[in-house]
Every structure is written in structure tokens, then in C-alpha cells.
Amino acid sequence: MIFIPEIFMSLGFLVILIISVFLKKNSHIIVGYLSLILIFLTQFFVLKDIFLFEEIFNSFFVIDSFGSFLKSIILISAGLVIYFYLIVKNEISLQRPEFLLITLIAIIGMMLMVSSNDLLSLFVSLELQSLALYILVSFSKDDFNSSEAGVKYFVIGSLSTCIFLFGSSLIYGIIGSTNFSEISQFISDQYNLPTLLIIGLIFILVSLSLKISAAPFHMWTPDVYQGAPSIVTAFLSTAPKIAVFAVLIRLLVYPFGEIIIDWGKIIIILSIASMIIGSLGALKQDDLKRLMAYSTINHIGFILMALVPGSEDGITAICIYLIFYLTMNLGVFLFILNMRRDQINVTKIKDLSGLYKTEPVIAGCLAIIFFSMAGIPPLAGFIGKLLVLNIVIDNNLFFLAIIAVVTSVIAAFYYIRLIKSMFFDSPTDELDLLTNPQSKLLMTLLSFFNLTVILYPQFFLNLCASITLSLFALK
């Protein structure tokens, strides 16, 4: 039996669900540790089969090393977010076992998404993930902002689903099948492709860019990031983004790889718009979570740029960038989760001022992570940006490279403004001290990773290059 990680995860989810009913006190803590154990065991099953290649369930799903690798990254990031949930003091309304159970459902949906090989299985798993995320965003019932963010996220998410379905119905009508390998077969046989097929592909691209919040489909991102509870924002900005990127890469490289000339232009437009809006929109923000939303849009633009050539090196660079993006984002959100004044969560940028005086170690770690996001050498973010720019220049897309460099200079301005306010501004009201040692340790580890990655970049390059091979083996 080959489909073990997902089946194991689903059965484990049901077991935890039954256990959670019988727990009386501190049920969310116990369920949290049980979910961490489940994620750890699933990780083991995913890594066990990492070099396998097989199409299963009537080629509804495909198991390959690209999918397995991204699944393991998704599991790592989700596991870290659940660990954050356990070590950080949460609002009362989040302290329920259902929160973790719904997170587990979302993780199962993402794992299925990464390995789906048919538009039908892709649609169902995409919905499994999104429906769980709508609930998570509006989970904090006492908070008006959370329910408003939930309404916005639900409307935009359902709109994206409808667009996806309309696009896939057009593709089905032209090809007569929804399977990726048959779509690929049809496209390589035909010289003159019908326009309806291209329209269907554009519909699907629009829907997926709504999910990864690439501009000009980014409008929901700042509102949802700000309104959702911080722990949900931390989850929302890492694991689902990786999963949707995996889907986007698989869809564009494998079935539609032959018509790169058509979708390449769309990706270029999306990437330029995301980089410009991500860097300019963040300049006038005063909320740290909103700023992180714009920073995400900027990073998404950068990652999309590496997809334009559709080559093996490009996908390798995307995988490496996603890993680095994950460590940076989780580091910042771990700090945001710990930002408290008089036991109340605060997220304004001016609350950061004078952090160096009260918490020198944390301020240093945060500064390293912000510098890494800005792409200052020799940090991890710089290596990611270097790899992406290298690929863009190799493919003679110079205007794209110039826009990327200019926008990352603008983006560096607002990251450095944060660092300036942490180190040089005088504190108005001091934040509460970080009391839990685990947060400090994790922040230090994440920033240490960002600092030392320059010593062993070859490791990541070789790893990601070997897993992207499986994606191109079919062609």
C-alpha cells in the first residue's frame, strides 16, 4: 500500500477526535501534543517513500519525490505552528481542541493537494484545505475583526473556487478528460490549440493566484492577515502558500509545459505586479501583521519570477526560496505572538520601539530575520534572491531582473525602518518581557539558521535539484 502518509494522518485525526471528546481539563494542550506526535509519525512515512514514483487510484494521485519533499516541508511548518500554539499564551476562545483538529484537516487537504494528478482530486483537496482555513480565520468568536476577516476570506475563497471550476469545465470540454497525463498528451499532439483551452488555463491561473495572493488578486491578504488571530496568520502565511505553489508548479510544468509561451506572459505580469504592490503598499502601514502581508506579496512576486522559464533550475530555486521564506516568516510570527503589553496582545509597529533596551537577544534575532527578508548578504534571504535573479538573467529577462532589484531596494527600506525603531528609538511603553524560554530558543535557532546557511548552500541546492528531477522525468 503506497498512499500511507495521508491515510495514516486521516485515521490518526479520527483517533484524536475521539480522544478529545473524553478529555475534561486542558484538553487543547493534550490534543496539541497528540497532533504533534501524529505529524512527526506522518513525517516519517513521507520521508520513507521519498524516492518512490507511482500513479495511484486510477492516476488520481501521483507519488513522486517532488510531492513528498514539499509534503514534508508542509508538515514541518504546520508542526512548528502547532508547537507555537502550545508554548504561547492564547486567547480564551482559541483554547479549544477543535482549533487543532481543524488545523489537522487543513494539513490533510494540503498533503492531498500536493500529490493530486487530476483536476477532480485537486478540486476536492483544495476545498478540504480552504473550508478548514475559513473556519480557522473566523475562530476567535469574541473578536469583531476575526469574524470580519472570516467573511472576507470566505467570499474571496469561494470566488476563487468558482473560477477554478469554470476553468476546469472548459478544459474538460476541450480534452474530454480531467487527468493531467491526458491533458499533457492532448497538448503535445496538437499544433493548433483551441482558444477555449487557453481561456480555461487563464481561469485556473487566476483562481490559484487568488489563493497565493499574487497581485492584482491580493486585496484580501492585508485584511485577513490583520483580522485573523496571530497564530492563524502564522499558519496561513506558510503552509497553504507552499501547497498552492506545489500545485501551480505541477500544473504548469507537467500538463501545460508545452504552452509555456502562453502562460509565461501571465506569470510575468503577476510577478511584476506583486513585487511593485508588495513593496509600495507596505510603506505606509502601521500594523506589523499588515506589513507582513505586503511582505508576503513581495516574496510571492519574487518566487513567481523563477517560474517564468519553467526550467529545472527555476523550480529548484523556488523550493529553496520557499524553505528560507518559511524560516523567516515563522520567526517574525513567533515574535508577534509574544508581543504583549499588560497581558494584551499588541501588533502595532510603534510597539517595537526600544525593544533593544528590554530584550537585547530577541531584538538581535529579529534584526537578523528582517535583514534576511530584505536580502542583505550573507543571510538566507540573500541566497534565495540571488538564485532567483541568476535564473532570470540566464533566460535574458533583464527588465524583470531590474524591476526585482528596484523593488527589493524599496522593500529593504521598510524592513530597515523596523530595525531602526527597535534599536534607536526610545521606548514609549515597554512591552512585557518574554517569559517562556522555548520561544527565545526557537527565535535564536531560526535566526541562527538564517545566519549560517551561507556556509552550506550546496546542501540545499543538491537536495532541491535531486527532488525536482522527478517532476521532469515524465516529459
Partner: protein, 100 residues
């Protein structure tokens, strides 16, 4: 191309749903209805193409869409209920606290 007339119908319904989300200034329930319309327009496409191509998988896809649409409507109404409890209104104009 006589038998592809359903494409006009489904595109029309899809456009009505799409405009319903963006032009509507009154009521959040209308947005839910528009979403439902758009899902059904995809269903019309699937069933029409399935009939045209003599292939069964389109009809199976449309059954899956119906199931997911039901789940989505349930979750959407639940979120609307929470929102209504907080704001005492379901008008679109009340969704304006988060901006900038």
C-alpha cells in the same frame, strides 16, 4: 455547433454571479447566492460537455461540485451568523473596519 449552445447559458449565469458579488452593495446573503450561481454555471458546463462528448466523468465531477457547494454554503452561513452576532447587521457596508 448547435449542441454547444449551453456555453452561452453557463457564461451568462457565471457573469450574473460574478457581477452580483461586485455590484451588490446591500446584503451578504446575496453574495452567498451569487457564489451558488457561479458554482451551478460550472455544473451546467460539465453536464453539457459530458453529454456532448459522450463521456461520464463530467457528470461525476458535477456531483462532487454539488456536495462541496453544500458544505461551502453551510460554512458560509455559519461565518455570517458569527458576523451578525458581532455587528447586528449583514449589510456589505459594515465590513469596513479592516482597511488601510
Amino acid at each position: 455547433m448547435e449542441s454547444l449552445n449551453f456555453l452561452a447559458l453557463s457564461s451568462l449565469i457565471f457573469s450574473i454571479g460574478f457581477l452580483g458579488i461586485f455590484i451588490n452593495r446591500k446584503n451578504l446573503i446575496t453574495i452567498l447566492m451569487s457564489i451558488e450561481l457561479m458554482l451551478l454555471s460550472a455544473n451546467i458546463n460539465f453536464i453539457g460537455f459530458s453529454n456532448y462528448l459522450n463521456d461520464l466523468s463530467g457528470q461525476i465531477f458535477s456531483l462532487f461540485i454539488l456536495v462541496v457547494a453544500a458544505a461551502e454554503a453551510a460554512i458560509g452561513l455559519a461565518i455570517l451568523t458569527i458576523f451578525f452576532k458581532k455587528s447586528n447587521s449583514i449589510s456589505v457596508d459594515t465590513i469596513s473596519r479592516l482597511k488601510g
